[in-house]
């Protein structure tokens, strides 16, 4: 399937992401998994950063990924998407990690190059793009990291990804309607696309 790649996570409960579609590759150091619950993405293991990337398609160096938060609780965890995910080293790539108490942009899940105390809410669409060496994070189409953040860690383009972390399975943080694509040259990138218009959801 050519890009853009959309994913609505529609499958039986407890189906792991890689079983749902073998195009998804677990990129977590410890191998902890994500699964599907109520036709949305959910994590299997507590308190572990869990990363996957979409391996079937290779975007251009300028690329974006986005997803919708469907369950955000007051106590539970982070979710986000990834770009320029480096397949050679687990968890390497640019990732946003968003909660209802704070929001961040990470390199390799290790260096937090942007953060604020803003809140992610149910049905918020979170979006990450990289154009050249500039990363922008958007929530519902509004950029939250100003003019963006410059970072030159990766020499190669990389894949598109999805991320979750949580402190409690009971609260069941969930994510849905993932979308990723290449970005054309010369522009500032798209605003958040209406998911329904892309046949997602």
């Amino acid at each position: 399937m050519a890009l853009p790649k959309s994913e609505s996570f529609t499958d039986a409960n407890s189906t792991t992401l890689e079983t749902h579609d073998a195009g998804w590759v677990n990129h977590t150091t410890g191998g902890q998994q994500l699964d599907i619950q109520s036709n949305a993405l959910h994590r299997v293991t507590n308190s572990i950063d869990t990363f996957y990337y979409w391996n079937t398609d290779t975007p251009t160096a300028d690329q974006y990924a986005q997803a919708k938060a469907t369950v955000v609780t007051t106590t539970d965890g982070y979710q986000g998407v990834g770009v320029r995910v480096q397949t050679g080293t687990k968890q390497h790539g640019y990732w946003i990690e968003l909660a209802n108490t704070d929001r961040g942009l990470y390199v390799d899940g290790a260096s937090l190059i942007f953060s604020d105390s803003g809140a992610l809410a149910n049905n918020d669409v979170h979006y990450l793009e990289v154009i050249g060496s500039t990363l922008k994070v958007k929530i519902n189409g509004s950029t939250i990291n100003g003019s963006g953040t410059t970072d030159s860690t990766y020499a190669t383009a990389g894949k598109l990804g999805v991320y979750m972390f949580g402190n409690s399975l009971a609260n069941a943080l969930r994510l849905d309607d993932w979308l990723g694509d290449s970005l054309g040259g010369g522009g500032g990138g798209p605003t958040v696309k209406p998911l329904a218009a892309l046949g997602v959801g």
């Binding site: 480096q86 390497h92 704070d102 961040g104 990470y106 390199v107 899940g109 290790a110 260096s111 937090l112 190059i113 942007f114 953060s115 604020d116 105390s117 803003g118 060496s133 500039t134 939250i144 990291n145 100003g146 003019s147 963006g148 953040t149 410059t150 970072d151 030159s152 860690t153 990766y154 020499a155």
Partner: protein, 186 residues
């Protein structure tokens, strides 16, 4: 400012929580693995005062298009050199914007070095700015060359006798003072 570690174990600006607790975003471009960063936050005066009171912070002026004074050259040069960031090129002929772009250009090179698997921190052991390229561990030499090549930088003037200072300065210059984004464009 220095980098530190947040509750989740991530590398952050040392005083990031001061900004975020006051409700302000904070952006960072770090000297990856070396414990220092350029940090920006559109904070209020009270938060600014709190941050600047820390002795390990060098606050940059709001007007980035002013030239450095001779006193500022001395102060910022000492601050940078103490953190293994070459500053022998800093002068009153530079604006703060030019200085920041050059330092960040060096940070970009080190980020790529780390992204390509370069061991670090570079300055964690016996390595100083006077160490020569040939004295560096093989893995570091390979990653430095790979990083320079990945940017398309010309390394023909560098030899095994080139010092780390000369290498980092060459990579800084090769960035060619490109604008950078850190919440604002500089």
């Amino acid at each position: 400012m220095p980098t530190g570690t947040n509750a989740r174990g991530a590398t952050v600006p040392k005083y990031a929580s001061t900004f975020t607790a006051a409700g302000f975003p904070v952006s960072m471009i770090d000297f990856r693995g070396e414990g220092h960063c350029l940090c920006y936050s559109p904070c209020d005066a009270a938060t600014d005062t709190t941050i600047v009171a820390n002795a390990d912070v060098a606050r940059l002026p709001d007007n980035l298009d002013a030239n450095l004074t001779s006193g500022q050259v001395t102060a910022i040069s000492n601050h940078l050199e103490a953190r293994n960031i070459p500053a022998d090129w800093v002068s009153i002929a530079l604006t703060w914007r030019q200085l920041i772009r050059d330092v960040v250009g060096l940070f970009q090179f080190i980020q790529r070095y780390k992204g390509l698997g370069g061991p670090g921190p570079i300055f964690g052991g016996s390595v100083t700015l006077t160490t020569t390229f040939s004295q560096l561990p093989l893995a570091a030499r390979n990653a430095l060359v790979a990083a320079a090549n990945s940017f398309g930088y010309d390394t023909s003037a560098l030899t095994g006798a080139s010092t780390v200072r000369q290498i980092l300065n060459a990579m800084r210059v090769a960035w060619a003072a490109q604008p950078i984004n850190i919440g604002i464009t500089i």
